[in-house]
Amino acid sequence: MKITARRLIATTSVAALAASVVLVGGMNSANAANPKPVTGGTLNFYTHSEQFPNLDPQRIYTGRDIAFLGSYVMRTLVSYNPVPGKDGATLVADMATNTGVPSNKAKTWKFTLRPGVAWEDGKPVTCADVKYGWSRTFATDVYVEGPAYPLSWLDIPSAADGSSAYKGPYKKTGQALFDKSINCSKDNRTITFNLSRTVPDFNYYLTYLAGGPVPQAKDTGDKYDLRPMSSGPYMIKKYAINDEMILVRNPNWKKSSDPIRTPYPDNIIVTFGMDEDVRDQIDLEDQIPNGINMDGLQPSNNVAFFEDPTKKNRRMNNYDPYTSYLAANNSAGHLDCLDVRKAVFFAFDNKALIDLSGGTTYYGEMGDNPVKPVIGMDYAPTKGNIHDPNFKISGNPEYAKTLLEKAKTSCPDAYDRATNPAKGLKYYRADTATNKKAAVLVEAALKKAGFVIETVYKPAGTYNANLETYKNETDFLSSGWGADWANASTVIPELWGDGCCNYTKNKKTPEYAGFIKKVNLALVELDRKKQAKMWQELSQYGMDQYWYIRTVFGKSQQTWGSKIGGVYYWEPQGSFGFGQLYVKQ
């Protein structure tokens, strides 16, 4: 299958890791026999968490919650294709009749609502509802948890301090400006978004519940987070934090208006607040055969579950949505030398670090791209870095030494900094027990190649708050990233461009300026296939510069009870494809 072939190239070129390929590649074969789905029964979920962080659509930002609530309770204009594998990353129409019609160089987008889409109280979902949902994102004084893309995309002027001139439907400041940016047709079924600039992947944002509708008359403000209105096949009968959530069938949901959901179970119950050891026992012993552990297992229980041959039809191991990376500080006085960065790259003992976190089977594998395969067409395996014949997963200090020798002449200052015992490289880390263990491994590997390195520990509680300061002082900064949607526009600009989380601190060289220009061109490229190619080239460029010392494609494991059917891994959301689950008899 095309998928498997891609994965084989993508994951690794080292034989030792080949075994893990069997596990990655979607253990969707759990349901390969494809028996007929069963309607009815109760589908149980159980979790250690006490609640969903938010139920209010404009306040939800996690893939799992979007997948869960989107599959059952809240529909969006557009959704991801509810199928396993890379096809899952393509868009399909949900409440809209198509995946959106861009015009005016993708500065205007039009969607038309299908007939028959209704709320749980029978009232139809209208353009006004969508518009009202969008307006709530602007009430940033009360809702801070959700995505903020509308604030910069909609054609609304900014205020003096850089924030939007529209302050949301409660304060109503700038309401007229907002009303102009989204137009509703007379029949209240066609929505036209007027953006301030070209956004070719605008419709991807509409897979977010935040881009969805909220009926103004039912908006209870902060309390909407406890009981949102349903447009989906189920509605919320009960939501008691730390207790349970009960979903029952929504009588006003019509299959004819919904091509993507197959709500087989009659009831869905989420049980909160379960003790972690108890939860793991239930999962391991299959004590709730019609139930799913929503959190995953604790590490040792996870290993036990996955090594037990009798449980092979109840588990899957896939890439999660996240990439962990170690960014090199490219600014002057730090790692502003390609040869030095390359030397660090090849000296690193990645195996030891991965094993420390759980091993390549369960934790993650070496990646070759900040963009992950699960994102879809924007991913292509890169050349060099981990595919370089000199790359050894446990580190290649000899090769690193030769690169470092080159740096003696090519960049003497950087070389001096990296090897002079009086100076040395600095690696800032949060002061945790795990980090201490990792630091030992990192220092050992680098010292073997001739580097002088010191780990600087910073208080763990304030580490994230102080990242803006630390990123200027440290030579290495480790972090992680998950794309917001299946387009590298939410990865490369953020990590390597002018976005929020660029820790590579590139100097303003002509080369880098050229790179940024290309990024900005890719951002507005209307031809999707062309855009994909551009992202791939940009990935290759960044990897060739060794801006990232190591990239790890994280993995996640899911388990479920023996009576659960219809399981597959929904790659773009990094979760179960909830909408297709059913309970076997």
Binding site: E50, T140, V142, V144, E145, K171, D225, D243, T271, V278
Partner: protein, 333 residues
């Protein structure tokens, strides 16, 4: 007596006010910024500030505390213009992580904690005292040695071990409670069997450690009291050993237990964090631990801490008064 009680009550109120102020201060000192915690990936400094304002953390500690105190008596409104939420007096604040008035949240959690505390209390007192008296009477004999094994086991095993063992190897193993029903609330009056199903094992687990301590304590007190002169006098009067034990010895031996039992009970009324967590009981303990370690939900932290303190302080008062009833030597001071 009345002036004494009034004086103690006023002192308690003053102390609670100081405790609440201290909580606000301590919270202000912790390095984590709750305003930043819930802020999304796309957080900007102005968003964080707006969030800080929403959470009421953008004013001085005194101002925060003062608003809280006023809210206690007059109720309090949160949020502005069109999406304001009002919590009626006594308003303990509004939890933004649970979207509910804290008073409501706390009053929903309290029955669990009360059931657990009361059930454990009754269990450990009855087991501890009777076992203690038995081993004192049969000092050195088999019953005494068996009881001391119990004491050793009970005082060595922490609740997080006994609790997990009980849940995994008793409750779930024998399917006494369905794992999804673990910790479900049943009204003890209308559904006593359901209540027992939910609370028997957690109460027993919690009671184990206390029962062991109380056994040891009762035993040594009874032995010591038995050698007091007034017991010899009672015997010299011609009273039977049964009457001596029941009326003279126990009364004197168990008097100090009133104080300790009262305070232990009061401590549990603030929530038994570990037991509630293991058995899935949504009491004050479970409520407070998440607020302190994950969500940094200040209103819940303040409320649960104050409630726990109030119970301890009040119980101190009750125990002192009760002790005066028991021991007349205390009264005249």
């Amino acid at each position: 007596m009345l002036t004494y009680v009034t004086r103690r009550l006023l002192y308690t109120i003053l102390l609670l006010a100081i405790v609440s102020l201290t909580i606000f201060f301590i919270f202000d000192l912790i390095p984590v910024d709750p305003a930043r915690l819930v802020c999304s990936k796309q957080c900007t400094p102005s968003l964080v500030e707006a969030n800080r304002h929403r959470l009421g953390l953008d004013v001085s500690v005194f101002e925060q505390w003062w608003r809280f105190m006023v809210g206690l008596f007059a109720g309090r409104t949160f949020g502005e213009e069109g999406i304001a939420i009002t919590c009626a007096a006594p308003a303990l604040g509004y939890s933004f992580s649970r979207h509910e008035c804290v008073t409501t949240i706390v009053s929903q959690a309290f029955p669990y904690t009360l059931s657990l505390a009361l059930g454990a209390f009754v269990l450990w007192l009855s087991v501890g005292i009777s076992l203690g008296v038995l081993s004192a009477r049969k000092k050195g004999k088999f019953a005494d040695r068996a009881a001391s094994v119990f004491v050793l086991v009970g005082t060595s095993l922490p609740t997080f071990i006994t609790g997990i063992l009980v849940v995994l190897f008793i409750v779930l193993q024998f399917n006494l409670v369905s794992p999804l029903e673990l910790g479900n609330w049943h009204n003890p009056v209308t559904e006593p069997l359901g209540w027992l199903q939910t609370f028997f094992f957690p109460c027993a687990t919690l009671a184990l450690a206390y029962a062991a301590t109380y056994t040891r304590f009762t035993r040594s007190n009874v032995i010591e009291t038995s050698s007091e002169d007034f017991i010899r006098t009672a015997r010299a009067k011609g009273l039977s050993e049964k009457v001596i034990l029941r009326k003279h010895t126990l009364r004197a031996a168990l008097a100090p237990i009133v104080t300790i039992a009262g305070l232990d009970f009061a401590g549990l009324l603030g929530g038994a964090i570990i037991t509630e967590g293991i058995f899935g009981l949504n009491g004050l303990g479970k409520l407070s631990i998440k607020a302190v370690t994950q969500t940094y939900d200040l209103p819940i932290i303040v409320a649960t801490t104050l409630i726990a303190s109030a119970f301890v302080l009040l119980m101190n008062l009750i125990v002192d008064i009760a002790y005066a009833f028991i021991d007349p030597r205390v009264r005249t001071s």
